[in-house]
C-alpha cells in the first residue's frame, strides 16, 4: 500500500481522543485501520486505548466499537463474528465486515492470554492486534510478561538489591505462530508501509490473524515523546524487536538491519533502563545482549536467512 494512497483514506480513529502525547497506540491503530476496506467492529480490552477513545458520551471510533472487560476482548469479538456468520448464513445480512480485537500487552500476553489463545484456535475470521508497550501502562507502569528484562517498573522497581525486572519477555508472536493460524506478524510503526501491508494481509486472511506491534510509551519508557518512532527503529536495528511474518507456516524476515547495533543503543535513551548503566550492573547488560543475539539467530534460522 502506497503511503500517498493510504493518506487519502478516511481516518477510522479520529483526533480528539485522549491518548498521551507520543503514545504509540494511536499511531499503530490508525495505520492498521487504514488497511481495512470494510466497515469494522472494533473490540478493545480495558487499557489505555479503551479509556482514551470512548469516554461516554463520546467516541473517537468511526466504526462500531465494543469494550467488554480486560481479559476477554478476543472472546468478545469471537462472539460478534459468530453472530455475523450466523446472520449471514440465515440470509439476514449480506454486507462484508472486518472484525478486529485490540489489546495491550497486559490484555494479550497476560490476563487475556487464554481468551486470545481460544479465539485463535477456534479459527474465527478476525484480526487480533496487540500494541505492545511493555508494561501495564494504564494503571501506572506495572510489569507484564512483555516487559524487557532489567526494566524498572512500579512492580519490578530497580532497588538496592534487585535491579528491575528479573525475567526475559515472553515471545507472544512465536506462541501465536505455534497456534498454526494462517497469518502472524510482528511489526513496528517506524515502517508504516510494512505495518499497513501486514494489516492488509491480516484483514484479507480468511480465519484468524495476529499482529504484534511495538508501541512506544514515553511515560513508561521514560523516553522523549517526540522520539518514540525513532526508538522503535532502534528496537529493530538492535534486533530487540525483529520484524517478521509467518504466513501459512512460512517464516519471513521483513527487516534486516545493515549494521546490527549494540543493545545499549536501545537501553540508553530510556529512563526505565538507567540503573543498568551503574557499574555493578555491567554484567546484566552483557546478559541482555547475549539473549538478544540468541533470539536474533533463532529468528534468522526460522526465516531461512542464515
Amino acid at each position: 500500500m502506497k503511503l500517498k494512497e493510504a493518506a487519502k483514506k478516511e481516518e477510522r480513529l479520529t483526533g480528539g481522543h485522549r491518548l498521551c502525547s507520543g503514545c504509540g497506540a494511536g499511531t499503530v491503530v490508525r495505520l492498521v485501520m487504514r488497511a481495512s476496506d470494510n466497515p469494522a467492529v472494533v473490540g478493545c480490552s480495558t487499557g489505555c486505548l479503551e479509556v482514551s477513545t470512548t469516554i461516554y458520551p463520546y467516541t473517537a471510533w468511526e466504526d462500531s466499537f465494543i469494550h467488554n472487560a480486560f481479559e476477554n476482548v478476543a472472546a468478545t469479538i469471537s462472539g460478534v463474528e459468530s453472530a455475523y456468520r450466523s446472520l449471514r448464513n440465515q440470509g439476514k445480512m449480506d454486507e462484508d465486515f472486518d472484525f478486529i480485537a485490540i489489546g495491550g500487552d497486559g490484555g494479550s500476553y497476560d490476563i487475556g492470554f487464554q481468551s486470545l489463545s481460544g479465539a485463535m484456535e477456534r479459527g474465527h475470521d478476525m484480526v487480533y492486534l496487540c500494541y505492545d508497550n511493555g508494561a501495564y501502562m494504564n494503571t501506572g507502569i506495572q510489569r507484564s510478561s512483555a516487559t524487557p528484562k532489567g526494566a524498572n517498573t512500579t512492580t519490578s522497581p530497580a532497588g538496592e538489591v534487585i535491579p528491575g525486572k528479573q525475567q526475559y519477555r515472553k515471545e507472544l508472536t512465536d506462541i501465536m505462530a505455534a497456534h498454526n493460524i494462517p497469518y502472524v506478524a510482528q511489526a513496528s510503526p517506524f515502517k508504516p508501509q510494512d505495518l499497513m501491508k501486514k494489516a492488509k494481509k491480516a484483514f484479507e486472511t480468511e480465519g484468524p490473524a495476529f499482529l504484534n506491534v511495538l508501541a512506544p510509551c514515553p511515560r513508561g519508557w521514560r523516553s522523549k515523546a517526540e522520539e518514540g518512532i525513532e526508538l522503535t527503529k532502534i528496537a529493530a536495528d538492535t534486533c530487540f524487536w525483529p520484524l517478521f511474518e509467518v504466513e501459512n507456516g512460512e517464516w519471513k524476515l521483513n527487516y534486516n538491519p545493515k549494521a546490527k547495533k549494540p543493545i545499549t543503543d536501545w537501553l540508553e535513551p530510556q529512563g526505565r533502563f538507567k540503573h543498568l548503566f551503574k557499574p555493578e550492573n555491567e554484567g546484566l547488560i552483557e546478559e541482555i545482549q547475549e539473549h538478544v543475539d540468541e533470539r536474533w539467530e533463532t529468528i534468522l534460522h526460522r526465516c531461512g536467512e542464515e
Binding site: 469471537s78 459468530s82 455475523y84
Partner: protein, 393 residues
Amino acid sequence: MSNQVALTGNEVMAQAMRQINPDVVAAYPITPQTAMVQLFSQFVADGKVDTEYVTVESEHSAMSATVGASAAGSRAMTATAANGLALMWEVLYIASGTRLPIVMPVVNRALSGPINIHCDHSDAMGARDSGWIQFFAENGQEAYDNAIQAVRISEHEDVRLPSIVNLDGFIISHAVENLEILADEDVEEFVGDYQADNYLLNSEDPIAVGPLDLQDFYFEHKMQQAVAASNVKDVVLEVAKEYEEISGREYGLFEEYKLDDAEVAVVALGSTTGTAKAAVDNLREQGVKAGLLKIRLYRPFPAEEIANALKDLDAVAILDRADTFSTTGGPVYIDTRAALYDSDADLEVVNYVYGLGGRDIKVEEIESVFEDLQQIAETGNVEQKINYLGVRE
C-alpha cells in the same frame, strides 16, 4: 399441538434451546449441565438449528462471547452451573449493565470448596445482585416453560435485562420426567424474530458499546437499570398470560399451594417445593392448616406480593438451599424478612438452611419443620431463628 415426552431436565432444556433457535450459543461444559450443551451441539451438527455454536475455552469466555454476540444484534444464549457461573461473575454484571437480553439456563450445583458436584443454590445466590432476572423451577416442565418465557421477558422493551433459568442439578437435570413440550412452530411464533434497536453490525448507524462511563453518567445508567428491574414483574405476568394461551399452563410470580387458609407455611424454591407439597398434603390430612409458597421469580424479588401472601400466617419457615455465612440466615430468609418488615403482618419467621452439596431432603424433614412452626404458633416462642436441617452436628 404439544407433545407428551419423557425427558430429563437437561434434555428438555436442550429442546427448549432448539425451539428458541438462537443465532449464537457460546457455552462450556460443566457437570451437571454437560448433557444440555452436548445435546444442543448435536442439533447444530445435524442442522436442526441456525445457531453458530462457539466452543469457548472457559465460562468466562462463554459469557464474554455471548455478550459480544448479543451486542452484535443476534439472539444469544449460554448455559452453565456452579463454578462456571462463578467464573462468569465479572461478565454477568457487564451483560446486565449493557442491557443485553441473554437467556442462560443454570443447572444449580454447590460452589467449591470443598468441591462437590451436587445440587444446592449457592451458585445462583452468588449472582443474585448481578442484575439478572432469575427464575426457579420445581421440575423440568417448569424449567422448560421458564426458558421459553424468559426470551420474551428479557427482550421486552421495558426490561432488556438478561435471565437466568435455574433448574436443580441432578434432581431435575438428570431425572426423567413425563412432560409436555410445545410444537416447534408455536415456540417459533411465541418468541418471534429478534430485532435489536441498536447493535454493532449496523454499518449505517455504528455504535460504541461499553464505553468508559464516569461520574457524570454512570449513576443515571444504573438508575435506568433499576427502573428496568422494577418493570420485570408486570412483564413476567403479561408474558405468562400469553404463554398460558398456547400451553394451558398457568404461571405467576410465585405459586401459592394450599396457602389460602393456612396457619403455618414454608417458603422454598426449586425441586424441594415438590417435596414440600407432599409434606403439606400429609399434614392437611392430619388436619394441620399447612401451606407452601413456591417462589418462581426470585430476582427481581416480588417483595410486596410475597409479604401480602404470607401476612395472615401465624408462623412461616424459609427454606434456603444456600448459606450467606453472614450469621443472619440464608438469602431467601433475608429477602423475605425484609419484605415482611413493611407489611402489617404479625408472624414469626424462621430459617432452615438445608440440602447443601446435594444432601437429600425428605418429606419427614419438612414435616418436622411444620411441627416446629406449630409449636411456635402455639407458644409464640422461637427457640432458634436460624436452623440447619438434616446436618450432623
